[in-house]
């Protein structure tokens, strides 16, 4: 069998820390090879070794059978290896073509020859079905399109081995299925792909083989056709993982949150939430399903007091909190796991202990007469760290140094410990691996079972389906329908999220099933 890339027994150390310990990855020509591992397992390190950003301490790399020494990214480029980064490296106010030729500009009589480059970009785009306008500005195109520009960039430079680093992290479900189509097209045109991910469904959908690494060690390589998500998950985490979160039926009681006719505008004065109504009772989890940008962020910001509402009422525990200050709202019984944990959830330069106290620091026992009692904060932080399994060296470690999953656990610990009547969880598992996701889902359900209300906002359909007791579908700023998870499926939800009415969705969804059967 012909391998285009062989990474044999790679070892990479950082000081005393072994990031890659004897990992082997062999990429066949024309395959999509998934590289699976938890956050911090060493996936990126391995790929940075392949891309020439790190030099390995041991092992060897062969490209098309020949042993090579990849000393820097230029060597990797010349070997035909291209990387599609997770965080796009694009200049916002340049056009697609300008971004693609950046650093490698074709010149004619000393000036940049844009038109020939733009023709070549258009050609490549057609060949691989990427559908990118070479003259569009980056700031004007969608995230999915920007990613395709990154793909074009590698193709333009002649790559035939493409590394995709967590490519679906910021895409909508529709964009993900488009990307999968593109990847298949690339393979059909003779390229080979390494797909870095921790999402199991994606692997099952597109990959031919999977190499799993755990805590820096290579666990093994399996054929996708001969495995299933359960096996992959246990290889990745090192123990059995349950996907379907166990939970009993909900027994909702009194209403906690009531939203009537809420309208919220964004910074430009465009209404993002339009006449929205929603009610949540104690003892239930209500999931908001919707495609990103349909008013979810503005809705949360209005509830938590970070954004003014234009009209309508938000009532919590019978108290009107519309347009009140964040602290007053927090005190009325709301806890909030923010959607962007780095922007709103944590002060990254503060120790994790301070972060755990950031909602309560001004109250006794943490503050007495204006003087802080840091010892009390530390004690509480240690409790939460232990109870919520936050892996850290201790309360003094800066929040920045923790992995995403552990940062999230600390935030959840902080919010749940305040014992709020309503917990708002916005994309609580974004970017986390299955182990952490399982943990967080279990905590949300525990919160419900102790008689509290949970509002879950998520772009992941299976998360909404698994965790919620009721699903409210948001489209264009309004709740267009509320459904029960037991009475719907992903297809119907997907159509509702795209703005179809329930009746249309039911019909189309059934047709879809019939087509599938034929």
């Amino acid at each position: 069998m012909e391998y285009v890339i062989e990474m044999l027994n790679i070892r990479k150390e950082f000081g005393n820390f072994v990031a890659n310990d004897n990992i082997t990855l062999q990429l066949k020509k024309g395959e999509i090879h998934a590289l699976l591992g938890e956050n911090g397992a060493g996936k990126s390190t391995l790929m940075n070794v392949l891309f020439g950003l790190y030099q390995p301490e041991g092992g060897e790399i062969r490209v098309r059978g020949k042993k090579v020494d990849i000393t820097d990214p230029n060597v990797a480029n010349n070997l035909g290896i291209g990387m599609v980064h997770q965080h796009f490296m694009l200049v916002e106010n340049f056009t697609v073509t300008e971004n693609i030729i950046l650093g490698n500009e074709p010149t004619k009589n000393g000036s940049v020859n844009i038109s020939s480059a733009s023709k070549k970009v258009a050609e490549l785009s057609r060949q691989y079905g990427l559908n990118v306008d070479p003259n569009a500005k980056i700031e004007d195109i969608s995230v999915g399109m920007q990613q395709r520009v990154e793909i074009l960039k590698t193709l333009y430079r002649g790559a035939d081995i493409l590394i995709f680093d967590e490519p679906t992290a910021s895409l909508t479900p529709q964009e993900i299925s488009e990307l999968i189509g593109i990847m298949k097209k690339l393979i059909a045109e003779g390229k080979s792909i390494i797909l870095i991910t921790h999402k199991l469904q994606e692997i099952m959908d597109v990959s031919d083989r999977v190499t799993v690494i755990r805590k820096g060690k290579g666990i093994g390589t399996v054929e996708t056709a001969q495995t299933d998500p359960e096996q992959l998950a246990s290889m990745m985490v090192g123990r059995q993982v349950t996907f379907k979160t166990e939970k009993g039926p909900a027994s909702p009681t009194d209403e906690v949150l009531q939203i009537n006719g809420l309208t919220v505008e964004d910074a430009r004065g465009v209404a993002k939430v339009k006449n929205l109504n929603l009610s949540i009772r104690k003892g239930e989890i209500v999931g908001i399903a919707g495609i990103d940008g349909n008013g979810q962020s503005e809705l949360i910001e209005a509830i938590t007091g970070l954004r003014k509402s234009k009209s309508g009422k938000i009532i919590i525990n019978g108290k009107d909190i519309t347009n009140r200050k964040p602290r007053e709202i927090t005190k009325s019984g709301i806890g909030h796991i923010p959607q962007d944990r780095h922007k709103h959830g944590l002060v990254l330069d503060f120790p994790i202990g301070h972060n755990i106290a950031i909602q309560t620091y001004y109250r006794p026992p943490y503050s007495k007469g204006g003087i802080m009692d840091y010892a009390a904060i530390e004690k509480k932080a240690e409790e939460i760290i232990a109870q919520y399994d936050v892996r850290t060296q201790g309360p003094h470690e800066p929040a920045r140094a923790l992995s995403g999953g552990n940062q999230q656990k600390a935030i959840i610990g902080r919010e749940v410990e305040r014992n709020p009547d309503l917990l708002i969880a916005a994309l609580p598992t974004r970017g986390l691996d299955v182990g952490a996701i399982e943990f967080i889902h279990r905590r949300l359900i525990e919160q419900r079972d102790s008689g509290k209300a949970v509002l879950l906002i998520s772009f992941e359909l299976d998360e909404v389906m698994n965790v919620s007791d009721r699903i409210a579908v948001i489209y264009d700023g309004s709740i267009i329908d509320t459904v029960l998870p037991s009475e719907t499926d992903e297809q119907q939800l997907g159509l509702l999220m795209a703005g179809h009415s329930k009746e249309a969705a039911v019909v189309q969804s059934e047709e879809g099933v019939n087509n599938h059967v034929q």
Binding site: P326, K343, G345, F350, I358, Y361, G370
Partner: protein, 348 residues
């Protein structure tokens, strides 16, 4: 090499490197570096008079450094320390000269007047930043010019067209017979005690109080702080006001201690701007500010002796002093170098 060793070595190596390059500059310009450095040493530590004057010079640097560092720790760039210092100086001298009160009221009142004037001068940029998101760097720079010329005009008006204010009353003076006689009748005054006290105050506010917790949180991440229920605008204003008060105190020390009055000025004192470097050299920590101020104050004052004692022109002296400070600011590079060396040794 242990971290502690490196921490101690870095500034020492930096100063030596700066002096070496400075020596080359003097040699190339045709002056004797040995004589130059002896003159610098004598200027700083030569006799008790020099030591007294050096400490006097360090005093406003500490306070200006605290002002910059405090704002910086809370996410703000106070470039207006110079202007706040000037209004603080004038206000302190005004209260010191215009009233006749017992010392235990008059002196504290004059000092407070300086702090209050600086705080007020910083309040406006803070307010504009908090309410209208106008960047504090632009506003504070412009307010430096306003401070300079407004104070010049006030001095002229007050003195009936003259170029200096009345002298302050004895009851408002920081002058100290004791300190002065101890240092061969230098102008050393009690201001150094005020400055060191303020170092402790800054540490206490930032590390011990609930206000400090909020100020730091807002400085690091406004979004997360707002989400946690802190009032962003209030914290920005408060931070500027405290910073401005430190700057105003620096001016008060000059007015009530060193000079006893105030002259109209053709340009800035420079202390406020040097305060930025002092704060950065000290990594914006209270203790670090003392280190930065000692370095700045000693070099500035000691350098005055170099033209007299070693016939080195003022311009060359300024280059040499700038080089030393430059190398100290480059401490990071030296640290990197030391870490590499110690790693290699470990490998062997």
């Amino acid at each position: 090499m242990s971290n502690r060793m490196i921490n101690l070595l870095v500034p020492a190596i930096a100063v030596i490197l700066g002096l070496l390059v400075g020596a080359i500059v003097m040699l190339v310009s045709g002056y004797d570096p040995v004589a130059g450095y002896i003159a610098l040493w004598q200027g700083i530590f030569g006799d008790s008079y020099a030591i007294g004057e050096t400490i006097r010079q360090i005093t406003p640097y500490i306070l200006a450094g605290l002002a910059v560092a405090f704002a910086f720790r809370t996410g703000l760039f106070n470039i207006g320390v110079e202007g706040q210092l000037i209004v603080g100086w004038f206000a302190a001298v005004y209260v010191g000269a215009a009233f006749d009160l017992p010392k235990f009221i008059h002196l504290p009142l004059s000092i407070l007047a300086g702090a209050a004037a600086g705080a007020l001068w910083a309040f406006l940029p803070g307010l504009l930043k908090a309410k209208m998101k106008i960047h504090e760097v632009i506003v504070t720079i412009m307010m430096n010019y306003i401070a300079l010329h407004v104070v010049n005009a006030l001095i002229k008006t007050w003195s009936g067209g003259g170029d200096k204010t009345d002298r302050i009353m004895e009851s408002a003076s920081l002058r100290s017979e004791f300190l002065s006689s101890l240092t061969d009748y230098s102008r050393l005054h009690y201001g150094i005690i005020v400055a060191l006290l303020m170092v402790a105050v800054m540490w206490f506010i930032l590390e011990k109080t609930t206000t400090g917790f909020e100020l730091k949180a807002v400085g690091f991440n406004e979004n997360a702080s707002e989400y946690a229920g802190m009032k962003i605008g209030k914290n920005i204003i408060l931070s500027m006001v405290i910073s401005g008060a430190f700057a105003g105190l620096a001016g008060a020390m000059e007015g009530l201690g060193t000079f006893g009055n105030m002259y109209t000025r053709g340009g800035f004192t420079g202390i406020g701007f040097d305060g930025i470097a002092v704060a950065l050299l000290g990594a914006n920590t209270p203790l670090g500010v003392i280190f930065g101020a000692v370095l700045f104050g000693s070099l500035k004052y000691g350098a005055l002796n170099m033209p007299n004692a070693a016939q080195i022109p003022e311009e060359v002296v300024q280059i040499v002093i700038a080089l030393v400070i430059f190398f100290v600011a480059c401490g990071y590079a030296i640290r990197l170098f030391l870490t590499k060396i110690s790693k290699k040794k470990e490998e062997k």
